[in-house]
């Protein structure tokens, strides 16, 4: 320290400096970001990237024309599947939110944390495929496919929300049971945050519910996938617009007071339930899911079975899944940072709604559909998956950042810079911690989705899961799903450690 400043430093009100490491926060975030960029670049060499120049323009023209000429021959059919979509989503969220609260209360138990991590690490589509083997194309399959992973997600988020609350209220309840402390203290206090998260999850549930149609449930995705597959783009567009309208207008038709009526209606709306053969369910869980050598007690045989699956399928699939995830993660981040300013009134002024609309569309379109579109453009490789994931997740993060940016605008200085300088010198650095936290939060989601992308034929874990189901080899499918789940649990814990090490708070959704 120099002479004059020593004398100045002595006289300060707040004595001493904050005990911090050498590196400034900015430098730490920069280095962390650069590491991820580096990993993403290396990933590109491993990902199955293959630029093939097909002739997509004819198809694209037809898709474009279809989008502006939506048409559906049977309005009743479309309406029914829209109602099914809403019913699954409503009931799914209601039940999973309740389960999520219960899990969150005991989230300090490691077993509950691991359990929640495992159930949310399996994609809705995979849960759907599994339950379809037991319950067929029934309401139960659809509900369980939403409820189980969502309960795990709610558990994690609610537990984070509880942790963010001040403990003052709850301290007055000391001595009462854990349950009463939660129901009289934590939950009422955290309720506003929980409610807004449940609302957001409802939108996710609508998307999940729709996507479950891809595997045969009677929701909007069923018709969307069919129309897309048949190249009936006007019909696909009709379903797509209905879906977008459904998501975009939630706040106009969802009245809190009518919730019980909605739930009751949803129960009535569920498609009828085909009979379930109990002995078959038993057989499925005790026999079909396990390789026959294991069931016969042939341990060396079982080892070699697992060894073969690991070497032939898990190995290459893991490389693809991880490579696509890392590339998509970084690209999502780049897209989010590039897009969010256009949806923030504080940054771009009155035309911000154009950007908001774009982000709303991006985050509403199921990734699988985006990937299919990109496949027409880039040919079949990891590229369409990476772009689809980046567009969807980037759009989602950008939307949240734009909200943060607008919310913070009232606290900004009067003489804030304008234009690009406002973005680069002020808003971007202010948003960056939340941005990183959101991105790390999405990490496991992107991983789950890249695994699932395999059903399109990109060689991630989902490809082999799908193949195993096609070959009626449930033992293999189940094992591969477990591998995908394990991968997600690892990424989740890695993300949590990194967030903690970087001093990132839980992001506001």
């Amino acid at each position: 320290m120099g002479g004059k400043s020593v004398s100045l430093a002595k006289g300060e009100k707040s004595k001493g400096e904050k005990p911090k490491g050498k590196k400034s926060t900015g430098a730490r975030f920069r280095d962390l970001s650069l590491w991820f960029v580096l990993v993403a670049i290396v990933s590109l060499f491993f990902a199955d990237i293959f630029l093939y120049q097909p002739d997509p323009w004819e198809e694209f023209t037809r898709i474009g024309w279809g989008m502006v000429t939506p048409f559906w021959p049977d309005a009743n059919e479309l309406l029914m599947s829209a109602l099914y979509t809403v019913s699954f989503a409503l009931l799914g969220v209601a039940v999973s939110a309740a389960l999520g609260v219960l899990l969150a209360i005991w989230f300090h138990w490691r077993v509950v944390r691991v359990f929640s991590a495992v159930i949310r690490s399996v994609h809705e589509i995979f849960w759907g495929l599994l339950f379809m083997q037991v319950f067929g194309l029934s309401a139960l399959t659809g509900l369980l496919a939403i409820i189980i992973p969502f309960a795990g997600i709610f558990a994690k988020v609610f537990s984070d929300v509880f942790h963010q609350q001040s403990s003052a209220t709850v301290d007055t309840l000391a001595g009462s049971s854990r349950l009463s402390r939660f129901f009289y203290g934590w939950i009422p206090q955290a309720w506003p945050a929980m409610r807004s998260y449940i609302r957001y999850r409802f939108e996710c549930a609508l998307r999940s519910s729709a996507i479950l149609g891809f595997i045969g449930l009677p929701t909007l995705g069923f018709h969307l996938e069919t129309a897309f597959r048949q190249g009936d783009y006007s019909e696909a567009a009709a379903v797509f617009w209905v879906f977008l309208l459904l998501i975009g207008t939630v706040r106009f038709w969802f009245y809190k007071k009518l919730l019980p009526a909605y739930l009751l209606g949803a129960v009535f709306m569920l498609p009828e339930m085909p009979p379930v053969n109990a002995s078959f369910v038993w057989q499925f869980f005790t026999q079909d899911l396990w390789p026959s050598p294991l069931l016969n007690g042939d341990l060396p045989g079982a080892m070699s079975w697992y060894g073969n699956v690991l070497a032939d399928e898990v190995g290459p699939a893991l490389i693809q899944t991880i490579a696509i995830t890392q590339a998509a993660l970084v690209l999502s981040g780049v897209m989010a940072l590039a897009w969010y300013p256009f949806a923030s009134r504080w940054l771009v002024g009155r035309y911000y709604w154009v950007g908001r609309f774009k982000l709303l569309v991006l985050r509403s379109v199921p990734e699988l559909m985006l990937a299919y579109l990109f496949m027409l453009l880039f040919g079949p490789s990891a590229l369409p998956a990476i772009f689809a994931l980046a567009l969807h997740n980037g759009g989602l993060i950008a939307f949240l950042l734009a909200n943060h940016s607008q919310d913070a605008s009232s606290q900004q200085r009067l003489d804030s810079p304008s234009g690009l300088a406002r973005y680069f010198y002020q808003d971007l650095p202010q948003r960056y911690p939340a941005f990183l936290a959101l991105l790390f939060y999405r990490w496991e989601v992107i991983m789950r989705e890249s695994a699932m992308m395999g059903v399109l034929g990109i060689a991630t874990l989902g490809f082999y899961v799908d193949s195993a189901f096609e070959e009626i080899r449930f033992d293999k499918a189940f094992f591969l799903i477990l591998v995908a789940a394990a991968l997600n649990v690892i990424v989740d814990s890695l993300s949590r450690r990194l967030r903690r090490a970087a001093g990132l708070k839980t992001p506001r959704m």
Partner: protein
């Protein structure tokens, strides 16, 4: 309209428990045109209902394994399967039986098609030029879109598709195989000949962009498979009644859903070659 549907759904829910016992349900693998499945197969259900004297219902499925699962779970008692999916389904449900096949299914075949930009010429032998190209099958569990073409390709080149082609994909169904080869997403593909011929006839294919370059030898394919316990549940001789109803189906409008000229008798043994092939390329244990 909405109110009516809600009531219909509610009524359906209440009635389903009572009705389920005597309803006879069938499904069909979604191998090509999936639009308006309910409308098309609904007519088949009406026909069967008339012939059999029981309630017949059709449920649509999204994939081959979903059809097999529905059959195994007894959610459907009768199913229109492909060669391979039929073998898989019958292996899972003891006593189940192939009772009828399409006339064309006795000598079914697969077309290998190519985008014209590849400049591969049609020939009697599988053209050498397909090596190194990108290639798509149909559904992973399809007989004409996967099993048989893979078998013939392995036989011709003594190599697996992964080794032979620069990239192997699974389009999901035959119509999509055609559209993906036509748009150039994949250069070469394998497609059910019947789907191809139908779509050419309907003018859905741009033959300047995609053409047939080879035809496989024939093999048995699609068939109706029925569960073994139907006689016990729907009355003695029910299986025969179903078979007769299928063989007697003459209405072209109904047959167009499959699309077949007519149905002829079939038995499990007719599909032994498919089973052998499935085992040979590791799709069946």
């Amino acid at each position: 309209m909405m109110l009516r549907s809600v009531f219909a759904a509610a009524a359906g829910l209440l009635m389903s428990a009572a009705a389920v016992a005597e309803t006879f349900t069938f499904t069909a693998i979604p191998d090509a045109d999936e639009s308006r499945l309910n409308a098309r197969f609904g007519k088949v259900a009406d026909y069967l209902s008339e012939q059999l004297g029981v309630d017949v219902k059709y449920i649509p499925v999204k994939s081959y394994p979903a059809a097999i699962t529905a059959f195994r779970n007894d959610q459907v008692q009768l199913a229109w399967f492909g060669g391979l999916s039929g073998v898989q389904a019958r292996a899972l449900v003891e006593g189940s039986e192939a009772i009828a096949q399409g006339y064309e299914d006795q000598f079914f075949k697969t077309y290998i098609i190519a985008n014209t930009s590849t400049e591969i010429e049609a020939s009697d032998e599988l053209p050498e030029d397909i090596k190194g190209k990108t290639f798509t099958f149909g559904s992973k569990g399809s007989t004409s879109g996967r099993l048989m073409p893979e078998f013939f390709i392995r036989e011709a080149f003594n190599a697996s598709p992964d080794e032979l082609f620069s990239r192997v994909g699974f389009s999901g169904d035959h119509s999509r195989t055609i559209s993906q080869v036509q748009s150039g997403v994949y250069q070469v593909g394998a497609v059910n000949y019947s789907v191809w011929d139908t779509e050419v006839e309907e003018g859905k294919i741009d033959t300047d962009k995609v053409k047939v370059i080879w035809t496989t030898p024939t093999y048995p394919d699609y068939q109706w498979t029925i569960r073994g316990d139907v006689d016990a549940r729907y009355g003695e001789g029910f299986k025969e009644k179903v078979r007769t109803a299928l063989l007697d189906m003459k209405d072209e409008d109904l047959l167009a859903s499959f699309p077949r000229k007519s149905f002829v008798p079939a038995s499990n043994d007719d599909y032994a070659p498919i089973e052998r092939t499935g085992k040979a390329i590791g799709l069946l244990d």
